[in-house]
């Protein structure tokens, strides 16, 4: 997708290099933003349709679920207040209109603004997911080093560990880590207490399965790169083993992994939902499970939109990192 467009007007040709780069960057940002808004709109629509598909009266969801003893008057009142009596398309338009102006509405179940709830809970989940992604990458790079540079035994062992890690359920890993490191050894607290030490186990728990995936992807890439001409050339120049790995092989091998990172981030958010429940962390994951089962549409929409927005941002960041790391185009800027 290199920008091969010829200057459309003569003035374009005289633009300074910096201005041209700035132009390319703004075009890139614009395209990303437009795509992101499209995704958010689609996610909002899916949530609207999906919540309507859940059987039961939406007014009852507001009044505390199907088991509530709400009077017919109260139901009718809620139906009118929330506009459930209006045509679906009107409700959809109102819903989208509010979202477009940044109003996420009030949670049916908690009776508080969704924005407030997200403000309290989002930092927990984001910390978990972002720290998890960083730790996963660190583990993956170490694993790739061990499985390609340390002989056959280490390779077989690392490969076995990464396969196992990639299919280890979060909820089980979390329990095992609690039993071993919090209960038996007493190194870290079992239930998060807000301190840095309290984050160790939850972050490790979300990171390990993703690290398993990334490790295998990076390993495959390094094996590929080792056979290439540039690796041979670098070795001929007297590059050390670590230098070859860090400066050449890894840059090549990290690309598919970076492209996977946005997916991995989504997987980390899914993992966070489970891990928050294991470690009693007050994140959006736990709120999500209750919100979906209670048809709390504003809260589901809020969480879905935030996760989707985070995905879009991570995708853009992954794209940037990929450009920066890609050995084929140094500082190529927006392509």
């Amino acid at each position: 997708m290199t920008d091969r467009r010829l200057p459309a007007r003569p003035t374009d040709g005289r633009r300074s290099g910096a201005a041209a780069v700035a132009g390319r960057w703004s075009r890139w940002a614009l395209r990303r933003a437009a795509g992101g808004i499209g995704v958010l709109w689609a996610v909002a629509t899916i949530v609207f349709v999906a919540i309507r598909l859940i059987p039961g009266d939406p007014a009852l969801a507001v009044l505390g679920g199907p088991g509530s003893q709400a009077s017919a008057d109260a139901v009718a009142q809620v139906r009118q207040d929330y506009g459930f009596d209006r045509p679906l398309l009107v409700q959809y338009a109102v819903f989208l209109g509010r979202l477009a102006t940044g109003q996420l509405g009030d949670s049916y179940a908690f009776r508080t603004p969704v924005a407030t709830l997200l403000g309290q809970q989002l930092p927990v989940t984001l910390t978990l997911a972002v720290a998890g992604l960083v730790v996963a990458w660190a583990l993956a790079i170490v694993a790739a080093w061990c499985s390609t540079q340390r002989g056959r035994v280490a390779a077989a062992l690392t490969s076995a560990i990464s396969v196992t890690a990639s299919v280890t359920p979060h909820f089980w890993l979390g329990s095992v880590l609690i039993v071993v490191f919090a209960s038996a050894l007493g190194w870290v607290p079992a239930v998060s207490d807000g301190s840095v030490r309290g984050w160790v186990l939850p972050v490790l728990t979300v990171a390990v399965p993703v690290a398993g995936y990334l490790a295998e992807t990076v390993r495959d890439g390094v094996v590929d790169a080792q056979r290439s001409a540039f690796a041979l050339a670098a070795r001929g120049r007297g590059e050390t083993r670590a230098g070859l790995f860090g400066r050449h092989l890894l840059r090549h091998a990290a690309l598919p992994g970076i492209a996977l990172s946005a997916w991995a981030f989504g997987s980390l958010v899914s993992g966070a939902v489970v891990v928050e429940s294991v470690f009693a962390l007050p994140g959006i994951g736990r709120a999500l499970v209750t919100a979906v089962t209670q048809r709390d549409m504003p809260l589901v929409a809020g969480i879905a939109l935030v996760s989707a927005a985070a995905y879009v941002v991570v995708l853009a960041v992954a794209d940037l990192v990929e450009r920066a790391v890609d050995p084929r185009g140094h500082g190529a800027g927006a392509r």
Partner: protein, 295 residues
């Protein structure tokens, strides 16, 4: 993951006659490798446990013995007992059927939906491709668990909804892979040659494009079964999959959470079962792919 694009063109051209013979020969030779052989053994054991749980489990998975609650592992109950005195080994063995079934069915659902979407996108015009591309992109933006939870909210909790939920949530991944494979097969030399030879479009699609796209998906799907087992048990853990007291690994783990520090065996063994089965399926899938049985 990067292995998805592996099936190369030269291999495809002589595939027709050679594979059938080659496949049976390789199976006779048993070139799964040591890891693959062990994995095949574990999967065979799991299938046996799923078909005939009483053979391995011994005790009844639902039999309650309140006097023997929370017993540590011993000779009479190797995995210990849970809070109602039920034998954990018997429950782990009995849970194999649910997990294996969910894993296979969910992957089939995801694979079929994904293949249909991917083939439509790969063969269709630019508009169709763009629409399917957008749809999968949006599906990727939603965390898998959110999609699964919403599907279950619509259908109600239970094992079958869990299969559908995990299946639908994994479908976009398959769709993306198939689309890429169909596209590259479409522009391959084999297809170009077939077009030049004047073959009909239908025949080209069936003979050259679909096989090139489907076999890799079968391989990826084998790897996906392990993931599906894990996700389905996560749903049970969150309380929206298989309801208690049915023996299901995720539900057993949720159950064991309360007794995590006093009776860790209640959580350890069902979790270990998930990890062992999922790893075995994954390793077996890779070994099969390597031997060429599932290219």
């Amino acid at each position: 993951m990067s292995g998805i694009a592996e099936p190369s063109l030269p291999a495809d051209t002589d595939a027709d006659a050679a594979t059938v013979r080659g496949r049976s020969e390789r199976f006779r030779g048993g070139t799964l490798g040591p890891a693959g052989t062990v994995a095949a053994g574990v999967v065979a054991l799991a299938v046996l446990a799923a078909v005939w749980p009483a053979l391995l489990g011994g005790a009844h998975p639902l039999a309650v013995h309140p006097t023997q609650a929370l017993q540590a592992p011993s000779w009479s109950s190797p995995f210990g007992t849970d809070e109602s005195g039920r034998d954990v080994l018997a429950r782990v063995v009995a849970g194999t059927r649910a997990s294996l079934l969910v894993g296979v069915v969910a992957t089939l659902v995801g694979g079929v939906v994904g293949v249909v979407l991917g083939v439509v996108a790969g063969l269709g015009g630019r508009l169709v491709d763009a629409v399917v591309g957008r749809v999968t992109e949006v599906a990727f933006a939603l965390p898998l668990l959110l999609v699964a939870l919403v599907v279950i909210a619509v259908t109600g909790p239970g094992p079958v909804p869990a299969m559908l939920a995990v299946g639908f949530a994994t479908a976009p991944g398959y769709a993306r892979i198939v689309r890429g494979l169909v596209r590259s097969a479409r522009s391959s030399q084999v297809v170009e040659t077939a077009v030049l030879l004047g073959r009909s479009p239908g025949r080209i699609v069936v003979r050259h494009v679909l096989p090139a796209a489907l076999w890799p998906v079968v391989a990826v799907g084998t790897l996906g079964i392990g993931q599906a087992v894990v996700w389905a048990s996560a749903l049970s853990y969150l309380g929206v999959g298989t309801p208690p007291p049915a023996p299901e690994w995720g539900a057993m783990l949720a159950d064991g959470r309360t007794y995590l520090l006093t009776a860790p065996w209640m959580s350890t063994f069902p979790g270990l079962a998930i990890v062992v089965l999922a790893t075995a399926v994954t390793v077996l899938g890779r070994a099969l792919r390597r031997t060429g049985a599932l290219r």
